[in-house]
Amino acid sequence: MVRNESKAGRRRTLTAAALALAAPGAAHAELEYNLQPPVTPIAQQMYDLHSFIFWVCVVIFIGVFGVMFYSIFKHRKSVGHTAQQFHENTTVEIIWTIIPFLILLFMAFPATKTILAMKDTAAPDVTVKVTGYQWKWNYDYLQEGFGFYSSLSTPLDQIENRAPKGENYLLEVDHPMVVPVDSKIRLLVTAGDVIHGFFMPAFGVQLDGIPGFVRDTWFRADKIGTYRGQCSQLCGKEHGFMPIVVEVVSKDDYAKWVDAQKKQAAAAGDDPNKVWALADLVARGEKVFTANCVACHQANGKGVPGAFPALDGSKVVTGPKAEQIKTELNGVVRDGKPTAMVGFKSLSDIDLAAVITYTRNSWGNKTGEAVQPSEIKAARS
């Protein structure tokens, strides 16, 4: 039964692999016996390499266990076979050391070629910085100057079995990554908290995002469509719920999409290069102040004596702006220990510029100076 069971399993794989070889990228996807249909040249190479090595292993497996099962049937006591007592043969032993070595060389050669191609991230058409967070992805289109978060859009009702599960259950997001077809896309992968795994099987791409380090990889999708993957590195309790969706679109559609994204960013006032008027900054800064600062420094800017310093008349706020920008970004550290004034690096350049401008031009503070987002950007680096 060992033989029946395992052979049955193997036969299924064989059939699937045969199908896969006969019709690459065709209808075997729903069979789920094999790798996902590749849509990039690298994934295609991986697929072919797997098929090749799979068949070599099948042949060796059948050879070795053919001999073993022949022996099991012929050389058993119950059929009256008596044991011979040989126990070594140097020639045979040398042969079966050298032949596997040669087979391995035949496997290593194509694998090496694919590795070299995989690692060549030079001359990309589009660069996207991918950052993993607990538990969502962030895609930054560096050349275009916009970015967005992408998180699971499957409703909780489906996960907790209160609603029927949709077709793309756990593989759907609110904002997919969009890339042009037939273009070299370079991914800079990192993470903000713990290690995450950016895994797109159909592209032959898997790279860990490591907090504090940036690694790169690339792909060139040659078929328009929507492709789905998942976070592959255990990253905490919602690890199974941070899928990756990439839409490969035509170059025209991509250009339109980029345009729309840029307009949206501009409409949200988040173009970091825009020069703002003083009044606009103060108006926006008041909102930022109310959201982030008012609890300690108070709406009248007087703070709480003994606990939180006043901003009204403060030397930092009325002094040179570089000093205040530094304080806002890094917080206040006294005697090597962080204080209640933590850094606000997480705010956008515009919000920081606005809130600094607001504090410098409110209450009794009348510097008349506007701090531009570009100055924050410069101070950050």
Partner: protein, 533 residues
């Protein structure tokens, strides 16, 4: 060798009145320095942990029976995968191998006991506290460790105090392993019977000798890794924190420098047991004894230079990828030699198929399959598509369950007549084998397909296209779990003496020293060393 010729061991013609010079009841087990008692305790501890880890595995499979969250929440699910891995590895497989070593190495080399009998006691009694720490961590605030058995930071730096208990447990188990290894090395090198040269030792002793060196080399490395984790968590260091000048990937390098030799620590004693069973039931000496020894040594040495194949997706440099791929592929050569030698041992033998032999053949068949998937995973471009998927889960369960565990089952059936003096129930043994063999494949074979289709490991819920194979795997898992009750019953029957009385040498093909002492083996054996010609 395995053709050790020897006289009937001296001293067994007369009765043994000196058996019972030990306290009775629980104190016998707490204070014992007898290698047989300690071996028995290791094996029972291992089986207990196997059941505990098995229940965790079944919790995982129950949750994965259908898409959607049904039984446990994701955080608890992660604790289950983490503890299942740690408990099975450090609690079940490694102590089982040490149990076999304790029972069999002195009997096989003609020694009266292990070299350091008191240390032997201590290295066992460190294990229960470690197990209690691991299991108790489920009940502390924040729950048990949930960052995977690999404990990668920064995730494990975020974790609650369950992680500290886990780190402490790992330290204790490491100390236990190191002491056990020192004992085994010293015993083998110093207490062999006159005439038994190293190259005449039964292969089981050879595989354990090499395993013990691996353990001494790598357990301190693991201790270092988890200690750095501990100081990162509590004492403000930044070994694994980029913001403080550290690197999260450093942990992975240190961990896998331990972790890869660990794989061979788990499999080499199993190789040893298989190398005893196959010649016995083929009634023919082991083919290529010397090349078997060299192959084990080669595997052990290579195991130190392949660790980063566990890290192909961390963005290794090109040269690193190439080096670790080539080195990993090389391991296929000595492993192939071993498989060929076992098949050649069977060739033109006179085989019978009692339960130990069935498990040995099952081992050979499925371990080789696991070896092939290992080769597939060694090829970097394929690994990129399979890393962190169920393909890897399938691969290592083929080598750890169908490999190590099946070999240990075979070993228990092979030696239990010697341990208890009673033959096991052959019918029960065969049912246990076939039931385990089929259910194992029902559980783990479909995981290859899941991995190829792209299902990541360690997820409590999955997309719809993975549903069918997960259901099959879950059914197989419960079947496999239930099959182990047959094993328990078969063992208990022997212990209770229900069955035929075992002769000193129940297997015609057995030619090692343990078959020269009566069954059950007397409390003290080889007080006068046998002479091996």
């Amino acid at each position: 060798m395995s053709s050790v010729s020897h006289d009937v061991a001296p001293g067994y013609g007369h009765s043994h009145d000196d058996h019972a010079h030990h306290p009775a009841g629980i104190m016998r087990w707490i204070t014992t320095t007898n290698h047989k008692d300690i071996g028995t305790m290791y094996l029972w501890f291992s089986f207990t942990m196997f059941i505990v880890g098995g229940i965790m595995a079944l919790t995982i499979r129950a949750e994965l029976f259908k898409p959607g969250l049904q039984i446990v929440n994701p955080e608890f699910f992660n604790s289950m995968t983490t503890l299942h891995g740690l408990i099975m590895l450090f609690g079940a497989i490694m102590p089982a191998a040490v149990g076999f070593a304790n029972w069999m190495i002195p009997l096989m080399i003609g020694a009266p006991d292990m070299a350091f009998a008191r240390m032997n006691n201590w290295s066992f009694w460190l294990l229960p506290p470690a197990a209690i720490l691991l299991i108790a961590s489920l009940f502390v605030p924040g729950g048990a460790a949930a960052g995977g058995w690999t404990m990668y930071p920064p995730l494990t730096v975020q974790a609650g105090m369950g992680m500290d208990l886990t780190i402490f447990a790992v330290h204790i188990m490491g100390a236990s392993s190191i002491m056990g290894s020192i004992n085994i090395i010293t015993t083998i090198l110093n207490l062999r019977a006159p005439g038994m040269t190293l190259m005449k030792m039964p292969l089981f002793c050879w595989t354990w000798l090499i395993t013990a060196y691996l353990l001494i080399a790598v357990m301190p490395v693991l201790a270092g890794a988890v200690t750095m984790l501990l100081t990162d968590r509590h004492f403000g260091t930044s070994f694994f924190n980029a913001a403080g000048g550290g690197d999260p990937v450093l942990f992975q390098h240190v961990f896998w420098f331990f972790g890869h030799p660990e794989v061979y620590i788990v499999i080499l004693p199993a190789f040893g047991i298989i190398s005893q069973i196959i010649p016995t039931f083929a009634r023919k000496p082991l083919f290529g004894y010397a090349s078997m020894v060299y192959a084990v040594a080669a595997i052990a040495i290579l195991s130190f230079i392949v660790w980063a194949h566990h890290m192909f997706t961390t963005g290794l440099p090109t040269a690193g990828m190439l080096f670790y791929m080539y080195a990993t592929m090389l391991i296929a050569v000595p492993t192939g030699v071993k498989v060929f030698n076992w098949v050649a041992t069977m060739w033109k033998g006179s085989m019978t198929f009692e339960t130990p032999m069935l498990f040995a053949i099952g081992f050979l068949f499925l371990f080789t399959l696991g070896g092939f998937t290992g080769l597939v995973l060694a090829i970097v471009p394929i690994d990129i598509d399979l890393h962190h998927t169920y393909y890897v889960v399938a691969h290592f369960h083929y080598v750890m369950v169908a490999g190590s565990l099946f070999a240990f089952f075979g070993g228990v059936y092979y030696w239990i007549p010697k341990w208890t003096g009673t033959m096991y129930d052959e019918k029960l043994g065969k049912v246990h084998f076939w039931s385990s063999m089929i259910s194992f494949n029902v559980t783990f074979f479909p995981m290859h397909f899941l991995g190829l289709a792209g299902m990541p490991r360690r997820i409590p819920d999955y997309p719809q296209q993975f549903a069918d194979w997960n259901m099959v795997a879950s059914i197989g898992a419960f079947w496999f779990g239930a099959s182990q009750l047959i094993f328990l019953w078969a063992v208990l029957k022997c212990i209770m003496g229900k069955g035929a009385k075992a002769p000193a040498k129940p297997w015609d093909g057995g030619d090692t020293l343990e078959w020269t002492v009566p069954s059950p083996a007397p409390y003290h054996t080889f007080e006068t060393p046998p002479v091996v010609k």
